[in-house]
Symmetry: C2
Subunit: 153 residues, 2 copies
Amino acid sequence: MLRVSRLTDYATVVMTCIAASPSEVLSTAQIADATHLELPTVSKLLKTLGHAGLVESFRGVNGGYRLARPASAISLAEIVEALEGPIGMTECGVSEGQCDRESQCGVRGSWQRINSVLDDALRAVSLADMLRPPVHRTRVTVALSELKGRTTA
Amino acid sequence: MLRVSRLTDYATVVMTCIAASPSEVLSTAQIADATHLELPTVSKLLKTLGHAGLVESFRGVNGGYRLARPASAISLAEIVEALEGPIGMTECGVSEGQCDRESQCGVRGSWQRINSVLDDALRAVSLADMLRPPVHRTRVTVALSELKGRTTA
DNA sequence: TTGAATCGGGACTAAAATGGTACTGATTAG
DNA sequence: CTAATCAGTACCATTTTAGTCCCGATTCAA
């Protein structure tokens, strides 16, 4: 099964939880409580998300976290990248010459194409989309038509 | 980084290698040599691919492997599924109630949508596509327009 | 000024997945 | 009958991942 790490999965839940109360500063404890995740885990996630510039932190009493930008301006891709680094499904890009046949180039090219499709799909889903009930969502469709235009060349 | 396991990556290389010599029976040793992968690793991969019905095996002297179907009828998705099971990026489907808010439903829905895009993209790339040089490939484009039609509803 | 609440950063541990290896048995061709 | 080859299983080492803990820094408020 292709997968995203469990922490990344959690991160989307945490981000959605924060997005559900915009303009409120939520403490780690509140978020952990609401999401039913362990507090140290949530803390670690928020630290990472903060480094990525996705949430703002406030120290001291009544401190906590808030979205750094409106939910509509934060994409699923950014959350994934914050936790896992650049989006990609293989390590072809880094490791060299494990198969020097011309066929291998085709393999690499195909994977890169898959990566690109996935990346665009992730980029097309915003945090605001994730807040909405799962029906009648249309942003992915929009993204795919853009994508079609782009890859037709 | 989102990823597919290294073995899955290897499997695509092995499959492409076999596809490059259609109607020939290649031994594990030949394939290992051509792909620069360890022989036991290739052996393990081929067994798995055989179970999935993607390659045919022949025992005994001059035995080996051959594609079970034409390369154009084998998709990247099938290779991935053979190695990793059903395609999906999260385990939301199995684990229950880790977050009982309505927001969580949005998260799950979004991930399922991503899964679907990815699945379709993988299904749109055939082994024959991977044999071709990486320029002027058009199948993904075709697939995306189909996909657009499908998700527009 | 003091203390409590809270984030920040890093180190650490335990568990799981992964990749790779070895060995033994079954099958087939010559 | 023998050598070549696939089939199956069990095993081990390494890496990655998840999760926890600790302590310092910061802020608010009494």
